[in-house]
Symmetry: C2
Subunit: 528 residues, 2 copies
């Protein structure tokens, strides 16, 4: 785009938002253009609107001057691109729009703006003494709830499928108009926060993983705190297939209402501390023989799983015995952590954490306290540390983008069936190691029928050539997994083309984009 046009647009934006809310200095832009992997698109400016009206004006100015704009909520889309746009453009930082607009304890929902973080929502519920739980992802307490939902993120509780538990979007369209989805278009409707369909075509799906509108408000459903809550953890050195087969019926029949997560050995190891340079003789990747040795030494099993049981005391007791029966003979150890053990673990955690750092023993256990948090919808920062896996540095303020942590997520979806999950594991393991990366994988039983495996490629961007090697590995993972029938549920900003399949799909996307955004100013290249 011509600089002249950008200059004029920036003047209009500055006059709308105030100079202090339009950033153009090189350092800020470079930082916003940095993800946890190599990316080439440039950030031309950052705008920080504070209201829906601002967003509408911002969009209108962009349209007049044909400047591409890329909204983000808090920009913590780590491993998928952080704040980096898929192509050059101006970022629209929605972080100042962080109001909690409505809250209903009885009907268990909250209506929020995109800047509302997990931490903020959690604190809000605590302050009010609410009996409701939110769902949290492990990414960071500073993640936007809406941002995560629009990327179809997921968590751990019965509300873990975020898109399935949200409705009533307020959407600023590429022409600056504002659409309310569901029943929201009826001025008097009392049901906007309660229905995912409304009447007539339902638009919500159109605006997640999309570039057709900017969500400025959304209702997120919460769950009543259950009378009883218990965590189960199990380990296994056997094959994964029978475990999946054993869990599926419990997911399908509603016994397991939350999202069970199963991590492999590499995942557990990387979550508990830095790369074992000594054990690996200073080399990467950590090969399978070394991993096998470390498993023995550190008492890590091939698979470690966790999930929550939610309900009345009676329901939880029943779920416990059903789970015990289903997993008998299929896992090495199944443990239940009830409220008392839970409180104890929380008390001893700091000491335990300090201790394990020294002794490096039983790393697997270090996971439990933060998992307990997530399983109760409490945001935690504990999992962010794993992006420092191969970094030879220590820091107290985690910022993977700035610290040049390398992180790429590949997230294939597979049927909740032993053979399918095994196929994904085998492929991901072989490809990752061959490219020089540890296959750090967790399998999430996201709904009743399917799993999402999140394969993390974690590396040090300061090591020459690693960015390229990691991206090559990611590309092969994506290509091979898609070919085998396991496309990913989510894409990174450098790899949106993996969503392109089917001429008819592309035609429809193109037609809708042309209809709603004829000048193509809203997030061009995002999921298209």
């Amino acid at each position: 785009m011509p600089n002249l046009e950008l200059g004029e647009a920036l003047r209009e934006w500055a006059s709308l938002l105030g100079d202090e809310h339009v950033s153009c200095d090189a350092a800020t832009l470079a930082s916003a253009g940095t993800a946890t992997f190599a990316s080439s698109s440039r950030v031309l400016a950052i705008l920080r609107p504070e209201s829906r009206d601002h967003v509408q004006q911002v969009v209108r100015i962009a349209n007049r001057h044909r400047i591409p704009i890329y909204p983000f909520s808090t920009g913590k889309n780590w491993g998928y691109g952080s704040r980096v746009p898929p192509r050059d453009g101006v970022l629209v930082d929605l972080g100042r729009m962080n109001r909690i607009v409505a809250f209903d304890e009885q009907l268990a929902y909250v209506t929020i703006e995109p800047g509302v973080t997990q931490r903020q929502l959690y604190a809000y519920l605590q302050e009010r003494g609410s009996k409701l739980w939110m769902d949290a992802t492990g990414a960071s307490p500073d993640c936007s709830v809406i941002g995560n939902t629009l990327e179809r993120g997921f968590g751990h509780t019965p509300m873990g499928d975020h898109c399935a538990n949200a409705c009533g979007y307020e959407v600023v369209l590429p022409n600056g108009e504002c659409l309310e989805t569901g029943f929201g278009r009826f001025p008097e409707a009392r049901t906007t926060a309660l229905s995912r369909w409304g009447v007539g075509p339902s638009f919500d799906g159109l605006f997640s993983q999309s570039n057709l509108g900017i969500i400025t408000r959304m209702t997120v459903w919460l769950m009543p705190a259950p009378e009883a809550f218990e965590v189960f953890v199990f380990q296994s050195d056997g094959p994964i297939a029978p475990i999946i087969e054993a869990l599926r019926p419990l997911r399908l029949d509603g016994t397991l209402r939350g999202v069970t997560h199963i991590g492999n050995d590499y995942k557990v190891l990387s979550g508990a501390g830095p790369y074992p340079w000594a054990a690996a003789g200073g080399k990467t990747p950590l090969d399978e023989a070394t991993m096998a040795r470390l498993r023995r030494e550190l008492r890590i099993t091939k698979w470690s799983a966790s999930g929550g049981l939610y309900g009345t005391r009676g329901q939880v007791r029943e779920a416990r015995s059903l789970l015990r029966r289903a997993l008998a003979g299929k896992v090495d150890r199944l443990q239940f952590v009830g409220p008392r053990k839970l409180a104890l673990l929380r008390r001893i955690e700091p000491a335990y954490r300090a201790m394990t750092k020294r002794t490096d023993l039983q790393r697997a256990l270090i996971f439990i306290p933060p998992l307990l948090d997530l399983l109760q919808g409490r945001p935690t920062e504990s999992f962010l540390g794993s992006s420092y896996w191969r970094k030879k540095m220590t820091t107290n303020t985690l910022n993977p983008d700035v610290d040049r942590c390398g992180l790429l997520w590949c997230s294939p979806v597979a049927p909740m069936r032993g053979e399918d999950v095994t196929a994904v594991m085998d492929l991901a393991r072989e490809i990752s190691l061959r490219h020089g990366f540890e296959p750090q994988i967790s399998i999430s039983l996201i709904n009743e029928r399917m799993t999402i495996s999140t394969v993390a490629l974690t590396y040090d961007r300061d090591v020459a050539g690693e960015d390229d090697r990691a991206m090559a590995c990611y590309q092969e993972l994506m290509r091979r997994l898609t070919e085998q029938g396991y496309p990913s549920y989510r894409l990174n900003v450098a790899s949106m083309h993996y969503g392109n399949a089917g001429a008819e799909y592309k035609n429809v996307i193109r037609a809708m984009k042309a209809a709603l955004d004829p000048k193509g100013i809203l997030a061009p290249g995002r999921y298209e």
Copy 2:
């Protein structure tokens, strides 16, 4: 449209489908143009394609000649318009496309075509000795599963919210292209039947209650038959508010997984037999004083409810005691019908039915056996009879359209809160009676947070003036309920304008329609 164009199109359609699958004779068209209320649009022809390829060709011919076409699955959209199009046009009857394309016992789904009826799907599962249950609506065993889902219909089991349990649509677009939603666009994907989002914008919502595409295939999720199943029924002569307040927490916490239905006195009476002409002194409507007398005489209570408990024996036992505790003091009688009592009821049903017809006593109980069916996902014809409420005729073959039964459904959505449901009941009761109709209402706890009240206006189309009076009543119900914050979840073919609210919504609908269907040939006027 010019007759010339229609004639040419009909020749092309006949050459595509065969003459026997293009109907133009006046009697057939008049019958297809008849609903259970007054409608004015004319059916110009009926086409009966047998494959997706046929549908694509049909659409292309329609486009070339600019002839509006209206697809229907089996056309049993009783009370909302049957097969009648909202405007003049050619009907496309998808009934011949009745293949069950895929079935997965493990992952609990079936992939079907639009002509597949509830009866057919049920028989299919039975024949295979499947351990899976489908969900059924009370409309008729001959209803299309897809047709009901696309109208956002609902049933009784934990899979009762049909749209929330369907995915992987195959859609013939208005230009004749074929779009697969979700992961379907990836040729190798094994996850098309398992994910409601896929990757990138999700289109499913766009094609329900819409005129943007013709669904030729869909995956419908099933549920594993639970180890234990029990029905609860309760009656109450008290206010409805405390009942709703008592049930909401059990719906929100997952104890009540199915859709509880609560019928009022008029609903129960109309479900169990014809209008009590003698008791009413030959007059309509049945006023509240007479209804009160009949309640006493026939031992009907103001409210009668039913729902299912699903799970293991332990889970059902727990749910039973939670329900008992929650409803204590709020209902007159709470009963649980377990498998034994259930079998007994089924055995005595024919005799019982014959008996109640004679004695007219305890009509409420007649409901139980068919409800037991629906609560287990077994389609039943038992509820269709209520559309003959005011008809002075007897018939063994129920066909409300042909028999000139009057039936109009108004279906306001309200928060699952005592005061809101009370407000809807009061309004619906007052308006219906004032217009001369009995307020036959059932309240469905369709998801965790909202209710749908289906208000049936049941009358005799052969009584002069009744069509107009019923429509006037419907219009006042719609207008007043919407004004009070309770818009309907579904509209009839003569009243699509109630979906029109908000300039931005209309702009978006118009833009999408123009993008996907520039000549406006697909179901113009449907939900727009």
